[in-house]
Amino acid sequence: MAMISLEKVSYSYGDSFRLADIDLEVEKGTLLGIIGSNGSGKSTLLKLMAGYLVPQAGLVKLEGRPLGAMPRKAVAQKLAVVTQGAHSDFDFTVEEMVSLGRLPFLSRWQSERPGDARAVDLALERAGLDQFRHRPYKGLSGGESQRVLIARALAQEPEILLLDEPTTYLDLAYQQEIFTLLSRLNEDGMTVAAVLHDVNMAALYCKDLVALSRGEIFAKGSPETVITRENIRAIYGSTVAVSPHPTRGRPQVTVLP
């Protein structure tokens, strides 16, 4: 069953960019990677899936219901989004930031219930932030603040998690850590869809891939079907060799200078 489905979705910014006639189903339980060159429409696609952008044509559905017609709180109880580089000029502690993930479950005036505190604790633990609980969010490094945003999304106890380039600007160890976390969440039953910059990481960790090129879906399917020499050349314009990963067998790209 599809968690999110896009039916003939189109979106354009002025004349310069257009995402056209996208048909896409994000299956329940998948770990989907969305790849493509800069400006191919990856982030726009994610914002459409999250409901933040309203398609100019076509329909986005969450579990079969039109997303645009659902109350925001109901959506946020099922779907959490981790955006890129969200910073704030205000002082919040890590715990306060993560507690915001409980907002869709609380009515106004209501104070946090034991269940909310448990969800926050669990999210902090899963993201490896136990030590950071009382630290100010503002002073954290890029990798740490990214983990806080992921923990906030986990506190929403979502069925589907959308992420926009969660590993960009992070060093190798942090990248690995975040992908390991996403894989583990996925194994526990969470549907995950992420816009990814790094083709090799995407091929290594994702179950399915969607490759965008110039606002259209160029290829979709298993990493093996999407990551081919011809596709990479068509999508990115780069000349590469594709070889299996030494231990996992997933296709990996090597740039040929």
Binding site: A50, G51, Y52, P71, R72, K73, V75, A76, Q77, A80, V81, T83, A86, S88, D89, F90, D91, F92, T93, E96, L100, G101, L103, P104, L106, R108, W109, H134, P136, Q156
Partner: protein
Amino acid sequence: MKGRRTRAAAFIVLAALLFLVLLAGVLAGSVFIPVADILRILTFSPLSEGTPAMWPAIVLRLRLPRVLAALLVGSALSLSGATMQGLFKNPLADPFIIGVSSGASVGAAAAMLLGLAWTKAGAFAIPLAAFAGGLCSLFLVYSLSASGGRRSTLSLLLAGTAVSTFLGAVVALLTYFSGEQLQQVVFWMMGGFSGRNWLHLFSMLPWLGLGGGIVFWHARDLDALAQGEEQAYYLGVEVERVKGRLLWASALLAAAAVSVSGLIGFVGLVVPHAMRIIGGGAHRWLLPASALAGGVFVVASDLLARVVLAPAELPVGLVTALVGGPFFLYLLKKRRVA
């Protein structure tokens, strides 16, 4: 660390300070009344033999309403400032950022020029005109900034600046032609509490209750909005609806406050900023702390304004800016070092 303990301690200190400045505010004046007698008057206890008959009237009719008006105005301006800052995700926003002050000034100046100040209803015509002017300017900004059902914070800020500047020019024009009322107009724009009575206090109370209630009701949404509108949207906040409510609520607070006191700057900017440094940015702390500290700040400023050149009085808006300005710079400097 900005834990619960720091916040609890800050509330206790602020409450104690508030009690002290309120008492000092009632104590200060040309007629000296001993503290013991003031407390007796305030608690309606029987007075000792030989207490001058004027004392209860001085305390209850002159000083108390004035001090309480300063308290409410300070609270309202600080709450309004904290809300605007969260809403615009900008710690430099203040209650007047969308033109409430210039709108209120046009209203007040127009009422003065029409000579309403000298009529019997004058004491209320000016607050009413200022209140209406402030809300009109928000209405103008609010309608000008809409496009396709959404109002981006940027278009709100731009429309606010444009309307503010234009109305500022209208105020200047009115001031230019004000003739005999010149001094009155100028004084109003520097803010003050002299001659404010219980009716002034009660006339702003419902608006402060309404605006304050709405703002407190949305404390968690403000936490989310302070992360940015897209983030708030993903956390389940109906962004446009909540933004509209908070904008009107904070304008209501600012307009009601300004209608009674005249323009008092800096409070809405400095107080929430200081409270953020003490206890962090979470609005369930920030809003009540700002309301309390704002009250303390304006009551203390009014006290200073009355005492420094006694028996003459300084405009309170001058004092808040003269004290608040350097304090704000000090905070900024200290923060950069920390």
